[in-house]
């Protein structure tokens, strides 16, 4: 038999029913058997006592007139009663007077006590009845009868057999009854368990367990379970609504922010664009002033005009950079194959032509062309190479290297110089607009170049980072 503790409820119910009925029947049968044995023994003792009394009263004269033969003749009547093993008459002082034995070889067991009362003693398989013989108020002697009680054993076996048969026969109705109980008790529970399994497996909270309709604990359980499912469903719905509401709000905010950003960019573009007009005027008139009226001016005035020209040129550069920055984020992209090595060569040639006095060695490795917007990537290379060119300007001899390598399964391009470098502690500020790690006196610049580069890389879905140290040079890596 498998472990009952892990078997289904219906089997438990069947086993329980059978066990309960079997135990009840066994107790009933046992009680009945015990009572039967008791009653049988009582009646046996009663019968033996009566027989002893009859024998005793028939032996009075034999005892009185000392005639053992007569007494033995009386005792010999016991030959009709096969259950009597031995019988004997003792005189009042305890001496054997007459005896009878069913079987001549059988010996008379002489009881120890010689009290005056009638007694019945059960030993294993036999009973000894002792009956005093009274006559005219005097005790003349005793009658002893030793009888076997094998009939009690036979009855026990017989009745035990009947009890076993009743037990087996009652198994059938017990099984039928347990089937009925199973329908009313186990099936709703099994149904509930199936529903619970379905709910937890499929996360389907719309199913419901079927109520039994009987007002019992199982029905209460099913009701409670269904209520729980309904509550979960309600909460799910509420959660869904809340999430949808949140998403809608995020979308709204994003849309608003995008719009605001676009407005801001348009504003800065138009401001930069509009600033160009007056600047051209300032530039133009300061040129006329120095070209046509230069000789008329004294030295101090010429210095002032010079300052105005320098400042307005710097402002023009700033405006150009700002316009570039906003264009980078607004113009549409055209994907094509771009050869970054070739672009780097062109830019380096241009830089050497512009400042032939500088001694800068370029190493440009050949790299596989990549997909991207050619115009924007040219801006990236130009900014990075011009930066390298600029920050090596204080060194007599400089070396700038452009190349590519494979890192973590992607192609990474780099531009390396051995110039002024930067403090790694401020590396995160490198790509923020208008943030400069060096003063304008040291190196000229607007602080917009690297911000533009970062935006272009971001538009390509790539990443840019820099490694370097003060006076140790800098390396800019980017991956698309």
């Amino acid at each position: 038999m498998p472990d009952l503790r892990h078997s289904p409820i219906s089997r438990k119910l069947i086993v329980m029913n059978i066990l309960v009925s079997a135990v009840a029947l066994m107790v009933a049968c046992g009680t009945f058997l015990a009572y039967d044995q008791y009653a049988f023994r009582q009646s046996l003792v009663r019968n033996l006592s009566t027989e002893a009394q009859i024998v005793g009263s028939n032996s009075i004269s034999a005892l009185t007139f000392n005639d053992p033969q007569s007494a033995e003749q009386t005792l010999s009547a016991f030959s009709n009663l096969p259950h009597i093993i031995t019988a004997a008459i003792f005189s009042a002082d305890g001496h054997l007077f007459a005896q009878y034995a069913r079987n001549p070889t059988e010996r008379l067991a002489i009881p120890g006590d010689a009290g005056g009362k009638a007694t019945a003693t059960f030993r294993k398989g036999e009973v000894i009845v002792r009956q005093p013989i009274l006559f005219e108020g005097k005790r003349l002697g005793y009658v002893f009868i030793r009888s076997d009680v094998t009939e009690a054993g036979q009855r026990l076996v017989q009745y035990g057999g009947i009890a076993a048969m009743v037990l087996l026969l009652s198994l059938l109705p017990a099984l039928l009854l347990s089937a009925i109980f199973r329908r009313s008790v186990a099936e709703p529970i099994v149904d509930l368990a199936d529903t619970a399994r379905l709910v937890s497996l499929e996360r389907n909270y719309s199913v419901r367990a079927t109520p039994t309709g009987r007002r019992d604990e199982i029905d209460v359980l099913i009701d409670a379970f269904n209520n729980m499912l309904a509550q979960i469903q309600q909460r799910d719905a509420a959660l869904q609504t809340a999430r949808a509401e949140l998403e809608r709000r995020v979308d709204d905010r994003t849309r608003e922010l995008t719009a605001a950003n676009r407005e801001l960019e348009a504003f800065s573009y138009s401001v930069s664009h509009d600033l160009r007009g007056p600047l051209e005027v300032i530039n133009g008139f300061s040129y006329i002033l120095s070209a046509e009226h230069g000789p008329e001016l004294n030295a101090a005035a010429r210095e002032c005009v010079q300052q105005i020209e320098t400042a307005s040129q710097r402002m023009a550069e700033l405006i150009d950079d700002l316009l570039n920055l906003s264009r980078v984020t607004t113009t549409s992209m055209h994907e094509e194959r771009v050869d970054l090595s070739r672009i780097a060569k062109e830019i380096s040639d241009q830089l050497c032509r512009q400042e032939p006095s500088r001694r800068v060695e370029f190493t440009i490795h050949d790299c596989e062309p990549i997909e991207g917007d050619a115009r924007l990537l040219r801006i990236v290379m130009e900014n990075l190479l011009r930066n390298a060119w600029k920050y090596t300007s204080r060194h007599q001899q400089a070396h700038i290297e452009v190349g590519c390598e494979h890192r973590l399964g992607r192609r990474v391009f780099y531009v390396r110089d051995d110039g002024a470098g930067f403090d790694p502690a401020y590396a995160n500020r490198l790509f923020k607009p208008f943030q400069r790690l060096h003063s304008a006196v040291e190196f000229q610049g607007t602080g917009i170049g690297l911000a533009t580069v970062q935006r272009i890389i971001a538009r390509h879905g790539g990443e840019i980072w820099a490694v370097g140290a003060v006076e140790q040079g800098a390396t800019f890596y980017f991956a698309l």
């Binding site: 028939n58 009075i60 004269s61 034999a62 005892l63 009185t64 007139f65 000392n66 005639d67 053992p68 007569s70 005189s91 009042a92 002082d93 001496h95 054997l96 007077f97 006559f135 005219e136 003349l140």
Partner: protein
Amino acid sequence: MLRLRAWLTCLLLLPCCLYARGAAGPEAKPTEYEVEAAYLFNFGKFVAWPAAAQPADSRFLICVLGTDPFGPVLDRTISGETVRGRPVQTMRITRPQDAAGCSILYISGSESGRLSKILSVIQGAPVLTVSDLPDFVEQGGMIQFVLHDGRVRFEVNLAPAQRNGLAMSSELLKVAVQVVRGGGSH
């Protein structure tokens, strides 16, 4: 009283002891007369007398006719005993006419010569006649002691008992050596 009971027990049961043990010392063996004395009074318990024969003084009288062979044994035996609730007493008589109030009459061996005369005197009276005399029951006596295998037994004649209105219990007849029906018609 205790002594008496012990005596009685001995009287009644010593033969049993002997029978059970098969042997006993000579000093324990009761004499023939002691046994007879005990039987004499026990007969009273197995014989029914007619109701009209109950004496007014309600004694149960055992009479000895002729020379008393018992000596003190008989009186010792019956002392304090009762038969059917009546105290037992003894009386020695010499004439059969004096036996009118007796329940049991023991006829001594000395009366062998006039036995038939005695019996004819007793005839019709509710008296149980007992004797050692040979052929007592054949001559019309009721109970006769006999020695049987060295033990005291008795023979019974039912006819005179019935004639005199006495009813002998079947229990008594069961232990009798011989039951005679008739003879000794006087």
